[in-house]
Symmetry: C2
Subunit: 711 residues, 2 copies
Amino acid sequence: MTYDRTTVREILEKAKAEGRTALTAPEGKRICDAYGIATPGEGLAASADEAAALAAEIGFPVVLKIVSPDILHKTEAGGVLVGVASAEEARAGYERIVAAARAHDPDAAIDGVQVQRMVGGGREVIVGAVTDPTFGKVVAFGLGGVLVEVVRDVTFRLAPLSGDEARGMLDDIKAAEVLRGVRGADPVDREALADMIRRVGDLVGDFPEIAEVDLNPVFADADGATAADVRILLAQGPVQEPERIPRERILASMNRIFKPRSIAVIGASAESGKIGNSVMRNLINGGYRGHIYPINPKATEILGLPAYRSVRDVPGEIDVAIFAIPAAAVPAALEEVGAKGVAGAVMIPSGFAETGNVEGQQKIVEIARRHGVRMLGPNIYGYYYTPENLCATFCTPYDVKGGVALTSQSGGIGMAILGFSRTTKMGVSAIVGVGNKADVDEDDLLTFFGQDDNTRLIAMHMEDLKDGRGFVEAAREVVKRKPVIVLKAGRTAMGARAAGSHTGALAGDDRVYDDILRQAGVVRAPGLNEMLEYARALPLLPTPKGENVVIITGAGGSGVLLSDACVDNGLTLMDIPPDLDEAFRAHIPPFGAAGNPIDITGGEPPSTYEKTIRLGMSDPRIHALILGYWHTIVTPPMVFAELAARVVAECRAQGHDKPVVASLAGDTEVEAACEYLFDHGIVAYPYTTEKPVAVLGAKYRWARASGALNG
Amino acid sequence: MTYDRTTVREILEKAKAEGRTALTAPEGKRICDAYGIATPGEGLAASADEAAALAAEIGFPVVLKIVSPDILHKTEAGGVLVGVASAEEARAGYERIVAAARAHDPDAAIDGVQVQRMVGGGREVIVGAVTDPTFGKVVAFGLGGVLVEVVRDVTFRLAPLSGDEARGMLDDIKAAEVLRGVRGADPVDREALADMIRRVGDLVGDFPEIAEVDLNPVFADADGATAADVRILLAQGPVQEPERIPRERILASMNRIFKPRSIAVIGASAESGKIGNSVMRNLINGGYRGHIYPINPKATEILGLPAYRSVRDVPGEIDVAIFAIPAAAVPAALEEVGAKGVAGAVMIPSGFAETGNVEGQQKIVEIARRHGVRMLGPNIYGYYYTPENLCATFCTPYDVKGGVALTSQSGGIGMAILGFSRTTKMGVSAIVGVGNKADVDEDDLLTFFGQDDNTRLIAMHMEDLKDGRGFVEAAREVVKRKPVIVLKAGRTAMGARAAGSHTGALAGDDRVYDDILRQAGVVRAPGLNEMLEYARALPLLPTPKGENVVIITGAGGSGVLLSDACVDNGLTLMDIPPDLDEAFRAHIPPFGAAGNPIDITGGEPPSTYEKTIRLGMSDPRIHALILGYWHTIVTPPMVFAELAARVVAECRAQGHDKPVVASLAGDTEVEAACEYLFDHGIVAYPYTTEKPVAVLGAKYRWARASGALNG
């Protein structure tokens, strides 16, 4: 696409020179012209007679709109008149809206009245762009018109964007079917709309000082799309880009931090109850095999290891320095750590930005940057990396090895991760506190865990992102290989942001995060417990090869609830083909229901469960199984668990691999049965029909985003 | 309101006589006129010239619409022309749409073209009515226009309805603010809209044969509301009303069933493994103190009790007969039970409607009705009523007494209720299986439990309601005194219903259930686990006296997640007044955050938790507390649990009573701490910030519905 950037630059400079942050409608139209965004025929009238002449030239009906740099919300000021059908009406209308505008704001400078061909018909949509504090330039598309802020049917993408991404936005709103034509209406020109979205994305990409663009309404029909109203707002200050560290450098540091050959503990202590003592004990008792150098000017030996006055006195190289000293002592010690060439500073101390000491935090960031030291924290519990038996934390050790890496911005959430992991025996590769995130953040950790063969899934609790684009970039790469689960807290904190435009108002809550994380392929967990359950369960589930989900249940009641949960979680209940239906029917009582759910009915013996599960596992047209179990005397819980585990294992050994989840309804013995199933590769929960399906849904969300599933 | 019922009757009879189920537009308008529903000026033109003359008379612009009993979707048939601005255009338009209609359906009978004053401006809303299979006549109100089925912003109420209910509907849609006027637009005439909703409700109430009414769009502005398009559909067959049993008779039976002085077990057996044996054992071992009469023609004694050949041989009166015999033997035995004057038949046997044996089920219903026996089931596990030590079931006994009554339509869900109750030690008054619901249903049980002093909360799993209005009536009474939790399964099963109108399409999913259960004051649980958790936790929470919720947290991270959960659950975080803020600040570190959440920060000793919780409990402006705990060495989990329980108990003893819930983040010791807290009247969960808040939200939903809270 070719754009007339010179004209846009000229208009923006003029507005800036005049100290304006809002462009006038004619300026907006000229920018649209320069970027190939269609607007209705129009002109500016400086008198009633000019309005009449212009209207006659453009063609009736026309719309009249006040043009004033001081009036942003024209309708509220009585500055808009629609359906003006004759020259006479145009003349009268001019007088009327100028009078209304003066009544609204006697001091408003009035440039005249815009006379615009009245467009309408087709669908009213909104195309816009905002500058998000986390993600920068973001385009919006949704249902438009006066109801836009009520209906809030809108979707966001990072700008600039590809044609596929723009077309994807058309499908991503709830009203997508409207654009395809409903009740006899023609479908809209999708290419024209996608094209307009891209042009808006390019515009804000090319001119970062454009803070917000609002094309609302845009009238879209079978023949094209026309922006009937244009509002463009400029940023007030200069626009800053976050710094980026190249991937190679991130990995070089992270590899030394997670796989250190040597660790110094600054503030190591022999005194029980001190953080510097807990850290030492955890390193030693956790089984870390590299060198441990306790640093303490007042000791010669701590827990049997020679102590040093300073890292400078340590003979060998140091990969990681763990800080267990008060905030005030950190800067000096960090200078020494930097001089020593340490790769990572694990900054446990609190007393920085979280207590208002922003300056102190900036100071240690500056020291770390100067020396090329990557810093974790401050204000953290430390980190675990089980492949290296590394418990670099003051909490209790954790040693169940596995493929799940978890990070948390909050210490409390970190403790919940630890407790949940221990009670469910979750296999973990890493648990990392990021705390104040003064330096190392989720992007860095994602970059490391993404390429870490010990990690099969990454789960992150976060309250914000320092660099949303950096995160999206890292996530897009990682999700091709492994799931990234995100618990984004503070969903509602941004609600109060003042909005200068419709698009701005729409972007005011959590939607931008939600849309863009989804685009990045991240699986967002709705709450803490879900993040933990997804992390525990997803690695147990093979990646599904298609969308056909089948429910096999001994309890009809569970079947109904499991079906509800499938709909809630975006899963597709397979339309069972006749031959498969026949095959299932052969195993179940005549009054049982084949179809889907397959209701094998309540009083059945183990063999019925066994035959139907085996059939479900071995037919390649079925891509995932949901089992509903009902506790009976005929098939007790552990009998079910053992047979289900055995059949699934046998089928998997024969190459029939697919995810299996189970909901167990019964007396308390189902709890042990669920544990057994979990240990044998079947994700199972008692007393809930929702959780197993939510976990399967999360696996599917990832599988779709990763490209492992077509569609 | 006075209505011209004669005219409506006349129109309906004519349509019925002609075998039509759809009224024409002029018929619809006449019905609107008869019921005082405003429509635009209009007339029927039988020729192009008539159309031109009529249009000139009504005033331009006009809309032309084809009138044909065979064309329902006029737009799709090319049968609508809007904005017709002159007599000439009206003439041409007539020809055009008649031609289009003929092209669409050459066989369609065409009555002419409706010429209608073109209305517009204001807001497009929909007012309608449908006949719901569960609830009967139901009115709908929502955003209207062509997008109505996409936006789906609509709410339903039982018809007929009061003025308050109709006005409530205006506030119940997502776009409610639009009606109050946004961006300078005038608010709509609420009274006119509410009035129109009521008139539609009265219309379908007066004429049950009207199946669906669609006024869409209705244009509402500051001056009134006008229905621009009217569609009325008639029912095809006769309309049936469900039978109702008077409350006194329900209670008379239910009291004998739940508090029986004597029980007969039909099919009692001495042979272990038989259902008739399990039932006998459970009755005896459960500690039931009334007479137990085993009925078995082949035995003289079973488990030490004299056995009888038939209930006829039992000397005394029998309140309940539990059936543990095959389906085929039921009718004869039930005749005897009826002749004996038994109040309740507990029909455990399966083999009825659930296996396709609908006739067999109808037969036993007929027998039971004839004798005035109320029947539970068939196809159930039985029932428990702990105040009478009654385990009338073949499952294992349950004896933890308490105030929760649970019912389930499915046996599997019943078993999950039992397992969950046992593992959480939930205090239960009753667990009841309703199975096929051939006779006793949720209405009956609600009526009994509502007035049962042993029951403080009722939780019901259901897949359908036999008589939605009966249930709503019972629920409205009960929720004034105790919470009613409903897990309605099969939310998505109705999605496929074919729709003859917009309103019908909107009512096609779960919305009618959802709106009307909410109206009835029922707290709907989103899933099985939530139903169980609400049942367990709500009786522990005192009823809040106002909407001011305060979060006190040791973990800032939990505070953010708890705030998110408050928004998700419709809770209001209190705006802390300055003096209270000051009072909290006195107890927390200077860098802690007062406000709400009150972040006492991580490393605080027990005294900080204690002082802030005591302040939160004792200030009467605070109505509910959410505690966030972070596991530290300074305040370990059990220390926190004990202090929180003690402080809350002390404050409650002083008359400062309010609900308290807690989220505990920490290592596995928090699990025992949560159990301790639960035992001491604080609803607490580990590893989740959502669950405690969801429970509090459920308590608030009930408190608002019960009238205990203003607003």
